[in-house]
């Protein structure tokens, strides 16, 4: 059970999909204008993540490796369609607010990423908890950003007016403000992780292929040394 809780917590803190893995940013920037929309988006994504993770984990031994991505997409699209129909039928206002981003969950990197990175290698129960943790991690971040943006940008929280009319800073709810809040949230998370003594490890989600990655971690030094060695070898040959 402890392992399951670890997987759950992993998605919320250590491998937070939005702030650490930096996946699914598009919908975070677009939907974090209102708290209600953010919560709806978070719930929808969590449902899709859990569903897709469980089904893909169930089918992981049947899906042929060569066509696994199309298979994942079909599974994910099924769940997104379910969510879309349910939201449209029962919460039309939320459906309006989310607009195209609800359908775009199909191609959300978090869902596809977890299918590829976790669900096709782990058991059904583990995948369930991974999907749940990632979904909660996403929801927490998007709602936190939305609270700030709605409060400062529109002066309301969940539609209730808190700051009187005329004292809003409009840029916060526009796109530039979204980018800024997103960056500030990332910086805050790293700050608190460093403060807690858990040194932020930029290698999380790294596959060792540094390429143009600018993080300058130890991995990169090792890889650079290896590359230099192989270059030298090639030169000698």
């Amino acid at each position: 059970m402890k392992r399951k809780l670890n997987i759950l917590a992993n998605g919320i803190f250590k491998e937070n999909p939005v702030l650490i893995l930096i996946l699914g940013c598009c919908s975070v920037l677009a939907i974090s204008i209102t708290v209600s929309g953010a919560l709806g988006m978070g719930a929808a994504l969590t449902f899709v993540l859990v569903g897709a993770n469980v089904v893909i984990s169930l089918l992981r031994k049947i899906i042929p490796d060569k066509v696994r991505i199309p298979c994942y997409i079909v599974v994910i699209a099924t769940f997104v369609t379910i969510v879309e129909m349910v939201v449209e039928a029962f919460l039309p206002s939320l459906y309006e607010a989310l607009g195209v981003f609800l359908a775009l969950i199909v191609v959300n990197c978090i869902v596809l990423g977890r299918a590829e990175m976790f669900a096709n290698k782990n058991t059904v129960a583990d995948s369930f908890f991974d999907g749940l943790g990632m979904g909660i991690g996403y929801t927490v971040v998007i709602v936190a950003i939305a609270v700030f943006r709605e409060l400062i940008g529109s002066g309301t929280i969940w539609g209730y007016r808190i700051i009187p009319e005329g004292y809003q800073i409009g840029i916060v709810k526009q796109t530039p403000g979204g980018f800024f809040c997103f960056g500030a949230a990332m910086a805050l998370l790293v700050y608190f992780m460093n403060k807690k003594g858990k040194k932020f490890d930029p290698r999380i989600g790294c596959d060792g292929k540094c390429g143009n990655c600018g993080l300058g971690c130890k991995n990169q030094e090792d890889n650079a040394a290896l590359l230099a060695a192989s270059d030298k070898e090639a030169a000698e040959v």
């Binding site: 004292y167 809003q168 800073i169 409009g170 840029i171 916060v172 526009q174 530039p176």
Partner: protein, 308 residues
């Protein structure tokens, strides 16, 4: 031997400090301040003073909080404060001006490492922040008293095709609607000449900027190409904001390209865009490409290595 220091070049000793250069910029900005008080009244002065105080305070508090060296005495925050105030209309609510100041100093300057590390001009970020947040207030120009002509009803840029050379004096002296420090072309030019004489700036960027605004406004078929450089923020932007050391190219050719491109974008936005004014966007966009301009126009050192 222990007293020998090893440091990287340049090894030039000079009495020119950031503080002295910034002081010169402040002196150069004073004619425009006097003109704005004459044109718009005492509130222009009050806004400028508030803006300066807030900028300096922001920098001080941030550096104290972050345990950094306090750099408020290099006066760069003062210049930023003055420029932000110059970029808003005189009727601007004080708290909105303060929001712009905080955004300029904290977001554009301190978050990127303080003076010398900002990749865009902080004052322009402050203006953009105010513009996107309070679109109504920043375009509600309060007009100088008297006169019911073409210029008293709107900022000159929006009525450009109604203007002719009879309005030249009015444009040149700045007795028309606009932002606090941007209307009086003669005062800004005076400041620019002072800066050039004191060798604080080279005249390349302002001349290329102003010239290319006139040229491209004419080429794009905008009304009154020559008059257009005296309207809006061209003078203020070209002389005081596009010449910022940190965010403009270091080579002469680079400066020329920078100025020309700023003018091109300004004219483009003015003639074809939705916004009446394009100076802010032009300088900000060009600020972003300055590192590439520097790379492309870098002089080859004498006897230096030849690139393969």
């Amino acid at each position: 031997m222990s007293s020998l220091n090893i440091s990287i070049s340049p090894h030039i000793r000079s009495s020119r400090t950031t503080q002295k250069i910034m002081l010169d910029v402040i002196i150069a900005l004073i004619p425009a301040l006097i003109a704005s008080v004459v044109i718009f009244g005492v509130r222009a002065l009050v806004l400028t003073v508030i803006s300066v105080l807030v900028c300096v305070l922001c920098e001080y508090v941030w550096e104290k909080l972050m345990h950094r060296e306090v750099t408020i005495f290099d006066l760069s925050a003062v210049v930023t404060g003055i420029l932000i105030a110059y970029n808003v209309p005189v009727g601007m609510p004080v708290w909105q001006l303060i929001v712009g100041d905080v955004a300029a100093i904290i977001i554009a300057k301190m978050l990127f490492g303080g003076i010398g590390c900002n990749f865009v001009n902080p004052a322009l970020v402050g203006r953009i922040f105010i513009m996107f947040s309070f679109a109504t207030e920043i375009t509600t120009y309060t007009y100088p008293a008297g006169g019911a002509d073409a210029l008293s009803s709107a900022t000159p840029l929006t009525v450009m095709d109604k203007l002719d050379w009879s309005n030249f004096t009015q444009l040149f002296l700045g007795s028309h609607g606009g932002v606090i420090g941007g209307t009086c072309a003669v005062a800004l030019l005076l400041g620019g000449v002072y800066l050039v004489l004191r060798k604080v700036i080279k005249p390349i960027v302002p001349l290329c900027f102003i010239g290319s605004v006139a040229l491209f406004t004419w080429a794009f078929g905008g009304a009154q190409p020559i008059l257009s450089v005296f309207a809006g923020g061209v003078m203020l932007g070209a002389i005081f904001m596009a010449t910022d050391y940190v965010t403009s190219p270091i080579t002469n050719w680079g400066k020329a390209i920078f100025g020309l491109a700023c003018g091109l974008i300004t004219a483009f936005i003015r003639v074809f865009g939705n916004y009446a004014e394009g100076v802010t966007f032009a300088i900000l966009i060009m600020n972003l490409v300055v590192p590439y301009i520097n790379d492309l126009t870098m002089k080859k050192p004498l006897g230096g290595a030849v690139k393969k």
